[in-house]
C-alpha cells in the first residue's frame, strides 16, 4: 500500500537530474574543429559587449584568430576580470590602467599588454542648460556616480586646477543607474565614456556639455580600456600571446577601416545590443583605437608614470608601482 505510493516520488528524483542532462549538452557543445586542434583561449570582458571590443569580434568574424589557430571565447565578467585572469582561469581580460595599478598593488600579477583606445575618452557630462562647461562650474552641483575615492579625487583635482572649492559639491551614489537618467533627475553631472553613453545621448537628441578629462589635465590621459594577461602566462607561453595579439591588432585595424563590418561583427556576437547605438558608436570610435600612436595598442611609459604619480600624490595609492612591470609593448611587434 505504502510502497505503491512511493514509486512516483522516487521516479521524481531520477527525473530532475535527467532534465538537467537534457539541457546541458546543448549549451556545452559549441563547434569544435576536427583537424589541427586550435588552442582554446578565453577573453574576459569587463563590461557588456560594446564597441571597445569590436576589434576582437572583428578578428573572430574575419577568421584572424582561426588563422593563428586560436579558438577564442568571450565571456562578460564585469567586476571579476583581474581575479580570474591572475588566477589563470582565463588567458586575457579587458581592464583599465587604474584597475591594473590597484590590482598590482594588491598582489594580483596582471600586466597590460595593449591599449585598446589610445586616449582616455571619458569625461564629465551634464545637460546643456545646466551650463557646466568648466570644472569650476561643478561648484554647488551634485555629482552622480559610484562615489569611489578616485572619482572624488578626480573631481577635486580638476576643480582645484580651476581655483574652485570642491567642498561645495554633493556626491550622490547612483551606482548602476543609467548616467543619462542620472543627469536628468538625480544629479547635475556624471562620469561617462563618450563613445557609448555620449553617442547614445546624441541619438536620443539630448544636448550635453562634455568636459573630457585629458583636456583639463594630461595626467588623466590614462589608458582605458587595456588588454591584460597574467604574468604566469607571459612567462610560460609568450608565443600564445604573440599569436593572440597579432590577430587582435589586425582586428582593430580592420575595425578602424571598416566600422560597419566591425559593428556587424559585434552585433553578431551580442544581438541583444541596440543596432543603431552600435553603428553610431562604431563610427565615432573608429579613429580612436590607434589615434596618434605609430601602431595600434602601443602604450607609453610616460603616461603610465604620470597617472601613477597622480594617484600617489593624492594618497589614492600608498606606494608607486613599478610601471615597467605593469605594462609591456613586446607583443605588439
Amino acid at each position: 500500500m505504502l510502497r505503491r505510493n512511493i514509486r512516483p516520488a522516487l521516479s521524481l528524483f531520477l527525473l530532475l537530474p535527467g532534465l538537467a542532462l537534457l539541457f546541458i549538452p546543448g549549451c556545452a557543445g559549441d563547434g569544435s574543429s576536427s583537424d589541427a586542434e586550435p588552442d582554446k583561449i578565453t577573453v574576459l570582458l569587463d563590461w557588456t559587449p560594446n564597441t571597445n571590443y569590436s576589434g576582437m569580434y572583428a578578428a573572430l568574424e574575419q577568421g584572424f584568430y582561426t588563422e593563428e589557430n586560436l579558438a577564442v571565447e568571450f565571456i562578460q565578467a564585469p567586476g571579476s576580470v583581474i581575479q580570474i585572469v591572475s588566477g589563470g582561469k582565463a588567458e586575457f581580460g579587458v581592464s583599465y590602467q587604474e584597475e591594473v595599478t590597484f590590482a598590482r598593488l594588491a598582489g594580483y600579477p596582471v600586466v597590460s599588454i595593449a591599449a585598446v583606445l589610445q586616449h582616455n575618452t571619458s569625461g564629465f557630462a551634464s545637460l546643456k542648460d545646466k551650463n557646466i562647461t568648466t570644472p569650476a562650474d561643478f561648484s554647488g552641483k551634485t555629482y552622480g556616480g559610484w562615489g569611489s575615492p578616485v572619482e572624488e579625487a578626480t573631481i577635486k583635482a580638476l576643480m582645484e586646477k580651476d581655483g574652485a572649492d570642491y567642498s561645495t559639491v554633493t556626491i550622490a551614489t547612483t551606482g548602476e543607474v543609467d548616467s543619462l537618467i542620472v543627469i536628468e533627475q538625480e544629479a547635475d553631472f556624471a562620469w561617462i565614456y563618450y563613445g557609448w553613453t555620449g553617442v547614445e545621448a546624441e541619438l536620443k537628441g539630448m544636448e550635453l556639455n562634455f568636459i573630457q578629462l585629458r583636456d583639463i589635465d594630461p595626467a588623466l590621459d590614462y589608458y582605458t580600456p587595456v588588454l591584460v594577461a597574467g604574468e604566469a602566462l607571459i612567462e610560460e607561453n609568450p608565443e600564445l600571446i604573440q599569436r593572440f595579439m597579432r590577430a587582435t591588432a589586425r582586428g582593430y585595424r580592420f575595425a578602424a577601416e571598416n566600422p560597419a563590418a566591425a559593428a556587424e561583427a559585434l552585433l553578431a556576437n551580442a544581438p541583444e545590443l541596440d543596432r543603431e547605438l552600435v553603428m553610431a558608436s562604431q563610427e565615432w570610435l573608429k579613429d580612436k583605437y590607434q589615434d596618434d600612436a605609430p601602431r595600434w595598442g602601443l602604450q607609453e611609459r610616460e603616461r603610465w608614470e604620470s597617472y601613477t604619480q597622480w594617484l600617489f600624490e593624492r594618497g589614492l595609492i600608498e606606494e608607486m608601482i613599478d610601471v615597467d612591470k605593469a605594462f609591456t609593448n613586446r607583443f605588439l611587434e
Binding site: 532534465l19 571579476s80 543609467d178 547614445e200
Partner: protein, 260 residues
C-alpha cells in the same frame, strides 16, 4: 469537471488583479508620458518579447540548464544531509546552525569567488542555484523527518526492518509533504539564482540578456527578460505542485486543488 470549474473560479481574482495592474501601468505610462527608457509600458514589453523571442529562448535554455542541475544537486545534498542529521542527533545539533548560516550569506558578494573556484562555465552557476535552493530543501526535510511517528519506527524495528526499509515505508511518505513544500520554494528561487550567477560572468543566459539590454539602454528588453524569469519560475512552481499531486495521492485533498 467540477474540479476544473472550481479551479477556474479560484484563479479568477488573481488573474483579474494582474490584468488590472497591467492596465493601470499601461495607462500611467501613456498619460504621464513616461520615457520608455525609464518605465516601459506593458505593450512595449510584449512587443520586445515578440521581437526577441528566439534569442530569449536560447538564453532561457542556458538558464534552465543551470536551474535543473542546481536544483537537482540541492535536492540530493539536502536529502542526504537531512537523513544523516535525523539518524544522529549530535550531527543535527552540530549542523543546524551551519545550515542557517548558509542562508544568511549574501550570495551576490560570494558569487564572484565562485567564478574563481568553479570556473566561468556552467558549474559556477549550478553552485549558486544549489546554494539558493539548498536551504529551503534542507530545513523542510529535517523538520519533516522530525515529524515521523517514533512508534511506527519502533514497530518496524521490532519487525526486523533495516534502515533502508524504515526510510522507505515510514519516513519517506511522512516527509514527502515537507519535501514538496521545500521544493516549491526552492524551485521558485532557482531561476533567480541562475540569473545572479549569469549576471557575474557568462556567455549565455537570461542574466546576460538583461545586463546587455540594460547597458545598451533598452529597458523594454530588460523587462521582457524579467517577464521570462517570472514565467519560468511560475512554471517550475506549478510543475512542483503537479509532481506533489501525483506523488501523494493521499495528500491531494489537503494541499492542492482542495474541493471544499
Amino acid at each position: 469537471m467540477k474540479k476544473w470549474a472550481n479551479t477556474a473560479k479560484r484563479s479568477l481574482p488573481g488573474a483579474l488583479a494582474v490584468l488590472a495592474v497591467l492596465l493601470l501601468w499601461e495607462a500611467l505610462c501613456r498619460v504621464a508620458d513616461v520615457a520608455v527608457s525609464k518605465l516601459p509600458p506593458p505593450s512595449a514589453v510584449i512587443l520586445s518579447l515578440y521581437h526577441n523571442a528566439s534569442l530569449l529562448a536560447e538564453h532561457s535554455r542556458a538558464t534552465l540548464a543551470a536551474v535543473a542541475a542546481g536544483l537537482s544537486l540541492s535536492v540530493l545534498v539536502a536529502l542526504a544531509l537531512a537523513v544523516f542529521m535525523d539518524r544522529h542527533s549530535w550531527l543535527k545539533q552540530a549542523l543546524y546552525p551551519l545550515l542557517i548560516i548558509s542562508q544568511t550569506i549574501p550570495i551576490i558578494a560570494l558569487a564572484p569567488l565562485f567564478l574563481i573556484w568553479f570556473g566561468l562555465g556552467l558549474t559556477s552557476k549550478i553552485v549558486v542555484v544549489a546554494l539558493v535552493c539548498f536551504f529551503p530543501m534542507a530545513i523542510n526535510l529535517v523538520e519533516g523527518l522530525e515529524q515521523v511517528d517514533p512508534e511506527t519506527i519502533n514497530l518496524l524495528k521490532v519487525m526486523q526492518a533495516g534502515p533502508a526499509m524504515i526510510f522507505r515505508s515510514a519516513q519517506l511518505p511522512a516527509v514527502l509533504p515537507y519535501f514538496f513544500s521545500g521544493l516549491k520554494i526552492a524551485a521558485t528561487y532557482s531561476v533567480m539564482g541562475a540569473v545572479i550567477g549569469e549576471w557575474l560572468a557568462a556567455r549565455w543566459g537570461l542574466g546576460v540578456f538583461m545586463l546587455r539590454s540594460m547597458r545598451s539602454y533598452q529597458t523594454a528588453n530588460t523587462f521582457a527578460a524579467i517577464l521570462v524569469v517570472v514565467v519560468l519560475s511560475l512554471l517550475l512552481f506549478k510543475l512542483t505542485e503537479l509532481a506533489a499531486w501525483l506523488a501523494m495521492p493521499w495528500h491531494r485533498h489537503k494541499s492542492v486543488y482542495p474541493e471544499e
